[in-house]
């Protein structure tokens, strides 16, 4: 079990207890805690509704092509942008702080 911090779109902080042995990713743990993360495509890096910013300086796995490609079609993309669904929870992520990126709804 690790601890991660999620700052939602209203600026509210949520402390999540996240299991590392259940093959879960950041998008899924956010949904499990009923945070406003849609995860429309189900975790295929094909929708960007789990777009988030990594605020802590953790050494995260490098982006794969699919994630980079999807971020091309997302908005509000910054240098610390990631797709939550591509970040599998592991023990090195203990203490991770992320912030949910704005939604692009008209």
């Amino acid at each position: 079990m690790i601890q991660i911090t999620v700052i939602d779109r209203e600026g509210k902080t949520h402390e999540l207890e996240a299991p590392t042995d259940m093959n879960m990713n950041i998008m899924e743990i956010c949904k499990a805690y009923e945070l406003p993360v849609k995860g429309t495509c189900g975790g295929m890096a094909m929708c960007s509704t789990c777009h988030c910013y990594v605020l802590s300086d953790h050494d995260l796995p490098e982006m794969r092509q699919a994630e980079e490609d999807m971020l091309d079609q997302a908005f509000f993309v910054e240098d610390n942008s990631r797709l939550g669904c591509q970040l599998m929870l592991n023990d090195e992520m203990d203490g991770l702080i992320i912030q949910l990126a704005p939604e692009n709804e008209d």
Binding site: M44, D69, D72, Q73, P102, N104
Partner: protein, 344 residues
Amino acid sequence: MIKTDILIIGAGPVGLFTVFEAGLLKLKCHLVDALPQVGGQLTEIYPKKPIYDIPGYPAVNAGELVDNLMKQIEPFQPTFTLGERAEVIERLEDNSFLLTTSRGTKINAPVIAVAAGLGAFEPRKPPIDNIERFEDDKGVAYFVRDPEVYRDKKVVIAGGGDSALDWTIFLANIAKEVTLVHRRAEFRGALDSVEKVHQLDMEGRIKMITDAQVVGLEGQDHLKEVTIKHKNLGTFAKEADEFIPLFGLTPKLGPLENWGLEIERGALKVNTYDYSTNVPGIYAIGDINTYPGKLKLILCGFHEATLMCQSAFKYIYPDKKLSFKYTTVMGEQGILATASKVAS
């Protein structure tokens, strides 16, 4: 006006399979989809991805599943209205529905099956405050309808995929000036196109600005300039007559929100007895519906479509008796004979 028995909104896997189950009951189907091709998310988002939980297929590519579904429903001769969004429905005097699409096509049916997945696919609009002010021929378009519009104009294209690359190449010969803006130096489009765009840039026939994004639009009655924010160079203005943001498509619930259907968390509430909505004659199947225990799986959508068709038959013909036959009992001859009655 098109007349049919079941009007299916959405030509994804579940909408397509509905044609088969309806056909076995001699009900004719017409499908409407906002995308120009059938298959829904499978074709638009992940055609090359293998799916592992379709019963009987250890693995099947999404695109191949769509091809097979089309083959399976072919005998029943479904008809299609593609590239048009289902917009407005009205209830007629005979209690049937009349649907009008975004391009004015009218379809009449006693039953509507909403199999719209996550909604109708629409272009992703960049979050620029006043962007809507420049839509409708005032300088912003999310896809290219007629390239001639851009003749001798100063055009800015944004995006890094195939459509951004392809239109940059194409419009280089038509427009006065083409600028391609992309958030990073790498492009995800076809290698040929990427090379071609780099070559055009070196020859000075287009201008490529990478590590940048368009963040603002200026102009009175028509677009005059765009504001570009560059990672290292900061923010600067660029003269532009036309701006074409190409960031792919995303599904939106859209007009069906106004059809009087009960909605819960962006999905249509149904009765699991027959997947009927709160409006008699309108059903919802596949990813678009919700009920206790709902799973968004293609295989669940197939099940929902099957039960829905039985109910639709009873709704259309309350006095007719419905006898259920296995396809193994019907055999190919039986299915084709049934299909010929649907098609006629």
